[in-house]
């Protein structure tokens, strides 16, 4: 089997199912089937699970390039778009739960929240910034935008910082978990900064990865 086929028929479906699993478990919890039940505060449970899954997937998306480079498996980049789109999907779900279940679609209150509550402002900004990335994630858009595509998609670095900050800011006291995310994000972005610095040095041989699906430059 060629690499393309292996990804198309094995790896991508597997990642798809894995990324969908948290949503299916939540759905089972909402319906009360398969022995699943949401927590005592089900709205909070949905909010937290969707939000953290979005953050997890964003981190995974950002981990693809470093892992591909370090392990010399450029084919891994084929999985990146799906992970990113799932992150966007969970972020949308998180926002929908907030709008419908937590705020009962009270428009005045929602507008006030977004304007006045810094952590909600941050989360909202992160979601808004993900929209252009999701919209331009197709092959066609990638071709059309060319080099500008890369520049645009570097927004994801800002998005992941905003998302983790949004999480940190709403925690009442015990910030252990947001700090773990901060450490992971610092590692992922720190690796990119280091790579960039390394590329500036006059190195005789530079390896080229990242042309499999997206020509990411670091």
């Amino acid at each position: 089997m060629t690499v393309a086929k292996r990804y198309r028929y094995i790896w991508k479906p597997l990642v798809f199912v894995a990324a969908l699993t948290p949503a299916l478990l939540l759905l089972a919890g909402v319906l009360g089937v398969a022995g699943r039940r949401l927590g005592a505060d089900p709205v909070e449970d949905l909010l937290l699970t969707c939000g953290k899954t979005a953050l997890n997937l964003l981190c995974l998306t950002l981990a693809v390039t470093p892992v591909a480079k370090i392990t010399h498996r450029p084919q891994l980049l084929r999985l990146r778009r799906m992970l990113g789109l799932f992150a966007f999907g969970y972020a949308l779900l998180h926002f929908a739960v907030y709008l419908v279940l937590d705020r009962s679609l009270d428009a005045a209150m929602i507008v006030k929240d977004i304007a006045k509550r810094p952590y909600i402002t941050l989360g909202f900004a992160a979601l808004m910034l993900l929209i252009p990335l999701a919209v331009t994630s197709t092959q066609g858009m990638m071709r059309r935008l060319g080099r500008r595509w890369q520049a645009l998609h570097r927004l994801v670095y800002l998005v992941v910082i905003l998302a983790a900050w949004h999480f940190y800011w709403q925690v009442k006291r015990d910030v252990t978990e947001p700090l773990i995310y901060a450490a992971i994000i610092a590692t992922l972005l720190g690796w990119r900064i280091r790579e960039r610095q390394r590329r500036r040095l006059p190195v005789p041989v530079t390896s080229k990865y990242g042309s499999a699906t997206a020509p990411e430059r670091i």
Partner: protein, 320 residues
């Protein structure tokens, strides 16, 4: 032990029956509905059987009880903020079971004629227990409806004859990192401390609770003795009390020390005064359906008629 203090009656039915089931059955019995329900063992579906906690005899005080559906025993005892046992909502239930609540002493001190260290039995002995169904509103925007068993704090405080200098009452939780593993983390300064103005402490709504759902308090809910102030955010309801001190000056309170811009001394439930980071205008009722959970928060948690006069002339935005 509790046996003597509460004339503990061992329940004859099997331990499979949930306290909620027994409780509801007893309620039906009391209201004369039918003894059949009890015989049939119609246990409520939630709540795993707890380590058989002693039953408390306490009639409901209808005057001070909310007529709202009760939160299930399972949720009340599994979804707790009790940082002494960890910051996760399920930590207290998992980690509080080893807490020794007997023997238990409470130190009374400060501006009183009678001070000293009293056993829990001495503290409780003169007070008939009653049941009160109170709303509980957490500062985190969730709420419950809980049938507490206890007695008015005022009745206890008056026994020690506070002096005219007693303007405030300060409470302290047990500090014992061996039994309270959460105290090894520094999320709050230990021991947990809370306080009330003397008129708040003497208010007839202010309760010292020793039980819920007709049984002795589970450890994770603040056994053996906790404060319940239904018009204030839940963190004012200090748990596992070991000291009560009457003071002339406003005593320090744990959450205020931790984040003074976010948590005030008064901490009255107020939908018009937002937490700096989130709105307090609505709350999510635990146990309500997904679409019914969110509901508006009421001034003083619905107890404004009783307690608003305590704060007449005060700027509640400033004294949050």
């Amino acid at each position: 032990m509790f046996y003597n203090v509460f004339e503990y009656k061992k329940n004859s039915s099997s331990s499979e029956v949930t306290p909620e089931g027994i409780y509801l059955a007893r309620r039906r019995l009391l209201t004369g509905a039918a003894a059949l329900a009890l015989a049939g063992g119609k246990a409520a579906p939630s709540a795993a059987a707890p380590a058989a906690l002693p039953v408390l005899e306490a009639a409901r005080n209808a005057r001070f009880s909310a007529a709202e559906p009760l939160t299930s025993y399972g949720d009340i005892t599994a979804y707790n903020n009790f940082y002494e046992f960890g910051t996760g909502k399920d930590d207290p239930q998992r980690r509080a079971q080893a807490l020794r609540t007997h023997p238990w002493n409470v130190a009374i001190s400060g501006e009183v004629e009678t001070s000293g260290v009293f056993t829990l039995e001495d503290i409780l002995k003169p007070h008939p227990l009653e049941e009160r169904v109170y709303r509980l509103r957490c500062v985190e925007r969730w709420s419950m409806v809980i049938p507490w068993v206890g007695f008015p704090l005022a009745d206890l405080l008056q026994r020690f004859r506070p002096t005219s200098k007693a303007k405030y009452v300060a409470f302290t939780t047990l500090r014992d990192p061996k039994q309270m593993p959460g105290q090894r983390d520094g999320w709050l300064d230990w021991p947990y401390v809370e306080g009330l103005r003397i008129d708040e402490a003497m208010h007839p709504l202010t309760l010292l609770a020793v039980g819920l759902y007709g049984r002795v308090l589970p450890n994770q809910n603040g056994a053996p003795l906790r404060l319940v102030v239904p018009w204030k955010y839940g963190f004012k309801g200090i748990k596992s009390i070991v000291a009560i001190r009457f003071t002339e000056r406003q005593p320090p309170t744990s959450w205020n020390i931790a984040a003074p811009d976010e948590y005030g001394f008064y901490a009255n439930v107020n939908p018009a005064v937002d937490h700096p980071r989130w709105s307090q205008a609505s709350e999510r009722r635990i146990g309500a359906g997904l679409f019914e959970a969110t509901q508006p928060t009421l001034p003083f948690n619905g107890y404004a008629a009783e307690v608003a006069p305590l704060y007449r002339g005060m700027n509640l935005h400033r004294w949050f």
